[in-house]
């Protein structure tokens, strides 16, 4: 069971991606928990999270979030813009898993 957190401005665009990722996981028989939040809610949602992915538009927060999560051993990255734009849940899921695995 992977636990992934998606962050973007106001949680507006990532919620769609959540559905896509869940669907991709189901097809592959992977158990996963994906949650989309606004950047402001980050601190309250870090418990048990294994990877944090940022929407490209909030890329500027990468350093700040890294500072908050790295001590807890949680990897952070920005979602590839093409995958994000095309809502490729499958690819984003792959990206998240490889982040967790290669930790």
């Amino acid at each position: 069971m992977y636990s992934i957190l998606l962050v973007c401005s106001g949680g507006m665009s990532t919620s769609l991606l959540v559905t896509k990722m869940e669907k991709a996981a189901e097809e592959q028989g992977i158990e996963v928990k994906v949650k989309a939040i606004a950047e402001t809610d980050l601190q309250n949602n870090l418990d048990g999270v294994q990877a944090v992915l940022l929407g490209p538009q909030v890329r500027y927060m990468l350093t700040k979030i890294k500072a908050a999560t790295e001590p807890k051993g949680i990897p952070v990255d920005v979602i590839s813009s093409v995958d994000y734009g095309m809502m490729k849940g499958e690819n984003v899921l792959k990206q998240a898993i490889s982040m967790i695995e290669s930790k």
Partner: protein, 902 residues
């Protein structure tokens, strides 16, 4: 009648046919008398100074002068109308009709004179008036009032009030009662020239008068005014036009005057003779003219008819007079070199007319003399003098003053020659300009046309350069647009300003001058950037380039009726200055199959691979386009319900190199586009390049861009922004068929919905970078558009994506920052989802510490809010402050700090 009188009368009659003189044999034949007797009588008449003798074989006799002829004519009951050149030939029917119209009991008939420019309609009307007096139908002091409806055509109220009079307060500006011309012409004749210029209201009033004999002045509600006036109306309009059909129903007597080209050579000869005599009388010197010059005058292509013939003769006389004076010659002789060029070309036709010319001039000497004592035959009573009476004395004065300055004769000659020519050119120009002005005033405000005319006149003298009609047209359109912009306070920016200033110094100085003129006239202040644009109209290049441009699309106008299409095409071709529109007339009697074949052949004939536009009126013609297109494979766009204005519009657009589908779209949004399949689903991506003067810089820019976009799914299209007025419309038309990623141009076209790249930026190193980024971003947007379509619930994904992309590019530019492509994609998605969410009235997150953030970023927030205005309207949503703050934060937080923007 005495025998000698009979001979004299016969000589006079024959003289009309043989203006050069008559032989004894001819007279003898006519009155069936022995030739030697006739010869004796002729000799007596010669001794009595009634005839002059021209030695030769055979000896010819001529009436001694027109003065004496006039007296004698009265004796023999020749009247004003019969004196007109060609009265017994091509004018015989018109003259019969005119007489009937005058005599017809009880009060004569109103008449309508038809004929092209310069055939002599005014003179004819005046002779009708003279005739009416001669036969005591009108009293000798009865009025003849002449009015040209074109003079006031731009102000229908004023025009109508001139004719019918006006009550005080009938319209703004009518500050007192005024009697109309119709009243002034009571008991006489009112001659309405160019009557087709009358407003519909004016026509209605005129018809009422014609039908019932009374009218009401403008603003008069109670009293009817009764007058007894014969109307003679005249028009150049084609008789099949709608107006004229109405007219000829109301006006029973329609008199058509023939074109000069339809008249016989001998008629033309007597015209030439009359005009030369007139000049000789005016100068007070006998004029000698060589035979070849006469032949040239007889044969050259004189499209503006008698009016032109006359002014060409006057020009030749003026030049000859100059030579005579400047070189102290003994005689005033008109030689070939005194003739305007186009007249001289008349000699080229001598082969075709050799026989007729020989018959006409055979007995003439090599040099013909016109005596100063010859009275002019007929003269227009109210003629507007082309050359004032004193024109010749002006020449004399100038010669004297130049001689005092010690100038060489040759130089004097040259200087004055220029003077004379420009004097006439001005006159000739005015004819065509007036005509043109009437037509384009549908499109451009009259005040602007006036000033355009003034500007080009000034330009001609100041820059010593000719400006053709197209510049007139283009400048007028441009001025209208830019004056409007300046009034609105819109900024005008000209990136090429310095370049123009340096490279077109003269033009720029001239533009400054006229800018002042325009400023005063329109109470505006033209910014220097605009002066730069104005300068470009006066460059040599612009006049040349525009002249040579021949559109690539063919245009055919096919209409029912014997000459409807031709006359429409004629008007438009005149207006655009090239023979471009091809007319096909179809008499109703023609069978559809044969019409079809004619149209098909014409289409094949004129297609240059860019397709043909078929403009038709109705019926089976509307289907031809599709059929021919299928048969020949040529792209054909059909436009039906054609009108002069729509033909003009199409021609103009074609000349600006619009494509067929663009033109069709703009004129007519019906389904008549054949073989022009536009796949709406897979819209092509394009980058537009635009330039100002023509297709020069747009193509250069296009080439640069083409190098960057090889192997990509993008095309470059050129457009022309000379016609700025329609630019927005045009772009929205293009948008229907294409995704426009950007416009690249020297000048910001102010199209808000499309990102603009300044061509200057493109020429910089960074410019390519900017372009690359737009392309890169565009390509990704292309990729994600399907998923947007699929994932957005409430709105059309592709459309909102387009909108959003544009907002982001513009935000980047206006906030003066640069953000990485991936951030743009993220933002794009964010904004699309946001709009989707707002449409469904969903909630969104609060922006932390909103007030602080807004206070610190007031300016940027305002800019971004403005960019969303369009999209807010389109989707009827309102972005909250939090939403804007998130976007601004994303934009600013992610900017690249290392580049140009720091």
């Amino acid at each position: 009648m005495r025998k000698i009188d009979e001979v004299y009368r016969a000589a006079l009659k024959l003289q009309e046919v043989n203006p050069l003189g008559v032989s004894a044999m001819e007279v003898a034949k006519m009155i069936k008398l022995d030739r030697s007797n006739v010869s004796r009588y002729l000799n007596t008449l010669y001794k009595d100074n009634k005839l002059m003798k021209i030695d030769g074989r055979p000896v010819l006799y001529k009436p001694i002068s027109f003065q004496s002829l006039n007296e004698d004519i009265k004796e023999y009951n020749l009247n004003s109308l019969d004196k007109l050149a060609g009265a017994k030939q091509s004018l015989s029917v018109p003259i019969e009709k005119a007489k009937a119209a005058i005599i017809y009991p009880p009060k004569g008939l109103h008449s309508l004179i038809l004929g092209s420019t310069g055939v002599g309609k005014s003179l004819f009307a005046e002779q009708m008036y003279e005739y009416a007096k001669e036969i005591n139908i009108l009293s000798p002091d009865s009025p003849f009032i002449r009015f040209n409806c074109a003079d006031y055509a731009d102000n229908p109220n004023l025009l109508t009030s001139q004719i019918f009079g006006v009550k005080k307060g009938a319209y703004t500006g009518a500050d007192r009662d005024k009697e109309g011309l119709l009243k002034q012409a009571n008991k006489g004749i009112l001659f309405l020239d160019e009557v087709h210029r009358l407003s519909p209201q004016g026509q209605e009033m005129l018809f009422t008068y014609i039908d019932k004999g009374f009218y009401r002045p403008l603003g008069e509600t109670e009293n009817l005014t009764y007058v007894d006036v014969r109307i003679i109306a005249a028009t150049t309009e084609n008789p099949s036009s709608y107006l004229l059909q109405t007219f000829s129903r109301r006006i029973p007597m329609v008199i058509s005057l023939p074109d000069l080209s339809e008249r016989t050579l001998s008629e033309r000869y007597s015209l030439v003779e009359t005009f030369v005599k007139e000049e000789s009388h005016r100068i007070g010197k006998s004029i000698y003219i060589n035979k070849n010059s006469i032949i040239s005058f007889l044969l050259y292509n004189c499209s503006n008819n008698i009016g032109q013939l006359k002014s060409d003769i006057q020009l030749a006389c003026a030049k000859a007079f100059l030579n005579y004076k400047a070189n102290d010659q003994k005689y005033l002789v008109i030689n070939q070199r005194d003739l305007p060029n186009h007249v001289r070309k008349g000699m080229l036709h001598i082969k075709e007319y050799r026989k007729e010319i020989d018959e006409l001039l055979n007995s003439a000497e090599d040099i013909l003399k016109y005596s100063k004592d010859d009275e002019p035959f007929l003269q227009l009573v109210h003629e507007e003098e082309i050359i004032g009476e004193d024109f010749y004395s002006i020449i004399e004065e100038k010669i004297d003053s130049l001689k005092v300055l010690g100038m060489e004769d040759n130089d004097i000659n040259e200087i004055l020659n220029l003077d004379i020519e420009s004097h006439f050119e001005k006159y000739i120009g005015e004819i065509s300009k007036r005509f043109r002005k009437d037509e384009i005033q549908n499109i451009v405000d009259n005040q602007i046309l006036d000033i355009t005319e003034e500007i080009l006149m000034l330009g001609k003298t100041n820059l010593n350069r000719d400006f053709d009609e197209k510049i007139y047209f283009g400048l007028a359109l441009h001025l209208e647009r830019s004056i409007e912009r300046i009034k609105k306070g819109d900024k005008i920016y000209n990136p090429k300003l310095n370049f123009i200033r340096i490279n077109y110094e003269d033009e720029f100085l001239f533009a400054m001058k006229i800018a002042k003129l325009i400023d005063n006239r329109f109470s505006i202040e033209i910014p220097v950037d605009e002066i730069g644009y104005l300068s470009m109209f006066f460059t040599k290049e612009s006049s040349q380039v525009q002249k040579e441009k021949i559109p690539q699309i063919g245009i055919i106008v096919a209409m029912h009726g014997r000459s409807t299409a031709s006359s429409m095409a004629e008007v438009v071709n005149d207006l655009i200055g090239i023979e471009y529109i091809v007319p096909i007339d179809m008499p109703l009697s023609m069978k559809p199959e044969s019409i079809y074949n004619i149209v098909k052949e014409k289409v094949k004939d004129i297609d240059k691979g860019y397709g043909v536009i078929l403009m038709v009126d109705m019926g089976s013609l509307t289907n031809f386009g599709a059929m021919i297109s299928e048969e020949t494979g040529i792209n054909i766009g059909t436009i039906d319900m054609v009108s002069t204005l729509s033909v003009l519009e199409v021609a103009r657009k074609a000349m600006m190199n619009y494509e067929i589908n663009e033109i069709i779209h703009s004129i007519y949004s019906g389904p008549s586009i054949h073989n022009m399949k536009v796949d709406k689903k897979g819209k092509k991506n394009i980058i537009l390049t635009a330039c100002y003067t023509g297709d020069g810089s747009a193509k250069i820019i296009g080439n640069i861009i083409n190098k960057r976009i090889q192997n990509k799914n993008i095309e470059v299209k050129y457009i022309n922004i000379v016609d700025e007025r329609n630019l927005k419309d045009r772009i929205s038309e293009i948008k229907e068929d294409y995704n426009i990623w950007a416009i690249v141009s020297m000048i910001d076209c102010n199209i808000e919905s499309i990102p603009f790249i300044s061509a200057l930026e493109l020429f910089n190193k960074d410019g390519e970078n900017i372009l690359d980024k737009i392309i890169q971003y565009g390509e990704i947007c292309d990729k994600i558009s399907d998923s947007m379509e699929e994932n957005l619930i409430n709105i059309n994904g592709k459309k909102v994506l387009d909108h959003t992309r544009n907002i982001i590019i513009r935000a980047e530019k206006e906030l003066k920052l640069e953000i990485p492509c991936e951030v743009k994609i993220g933002l794009t998605l964010h904004i699309c989802s946001l709009i989707d969410n707002l449409v469904s009235r969903g909630n969104s997150k609060k922006f932390p510490e909103l007030v602080d953030f807004m206070n610190n970023n007031m300016e940027d927030i305002n800019i971004v809010r403005k960019l969303f205005k369009d999209i807010e309207e389109e989707y009827k949503v309102k972005l909250r402050d939090d939403d804007i703050a998130f976007i601004v934060k994303s934009l600013k937080g992610n900017q690249i700090l290392c580049n140009t923007v720091q």
